[in-house]
Amino acid sequence: MPTVQLDRLLGREVHTANNRRLGRLEEFRAERRGSDYVVTEYVIGAAGLAERLGLGLRLILGLHRPSGYIVRWDQLDLRNPDRLRLSCSVTELQQR
């Protein structure tokens, strides 16, 4: 099965099906299923680096709500790390 290293995907731009910029891939949510850990969701952040800088900084800069989307595993095409594309439309996505 093809494999990819997480850091190759982390921080990458994610685009919509019609090539509009959605945000950056910031987090992978995983769940234990039996003896495996599987990725269930991706967190795409519009604010990018500031997300990892966290609560304290955001409070100071006045950005309270995290912005961006939660993308289900089947809604994102990972096959080309340099060109991460949604495999659904933006309207189907859950907002953060």
Binding site: M1, P2, T3, V4, Q5, L6, D7, L9, L10, E26, E27, F28, R29, A30, E31, R32, S35, D36, Y37, V38, V39, T40, V43, W73, D74, L78, R79
Partner: protein, 118 residues
């Protein structure tokens, strides 16, 4: 579980609590029609170098080979061998079985020669 926040860069310890390093990288297995699976944790400076830039990773790899390391690196810990993920990633194996302590063991051969190494 948030993989980046809770696993990546966390300390990895073996079943006796001995340090194995940090989770420098994570390998995902991607399958058609299936959710991606977390396959393994990678430990090693090569992985860190790659995170900064692919060419730095190659440089570190070349350095390791030049130093006579590189055979079993980066160290790979299958997710199946992980016992628990908390403040540290606890692994079911003993560090000696994984090759994570290769550099430590090599340097120990020198350190031991000095008097007072207790």
């Amino acid at each position: 579980m948030d993989v980046v926040r809770e696993v990546l860069d966390k300390p990895v310890v073996d079943r006796n609590g001995r340090e194995m390093g940090r989770a420098d990288g994570i390998v995902l297995a991607i399958g058609d029609g299936q959710p991606p699976r977390l396959e393994a944790i990678l430990i090693g400076p090569v992985v860190l170098g790659r995170r900064l830039h692919p060419s730095i990773g190659r440089l570190v790899g070349a350095l390791e080979r030049w130093l006579g390391l590189g055979a079993n690196r980066p160290v790979r810990v299958e997710f199946g061998d992980i016992e628990m993920i908390g403040q540290k990633v606890k692994v079911r194996l003993a560090v000696g079985d994984t090759g994570a302590d290769e550099v430590e063991r090599r340097l120990r051969r020198w350190v031991i020669r000095l008097p007072g190494s207790r």
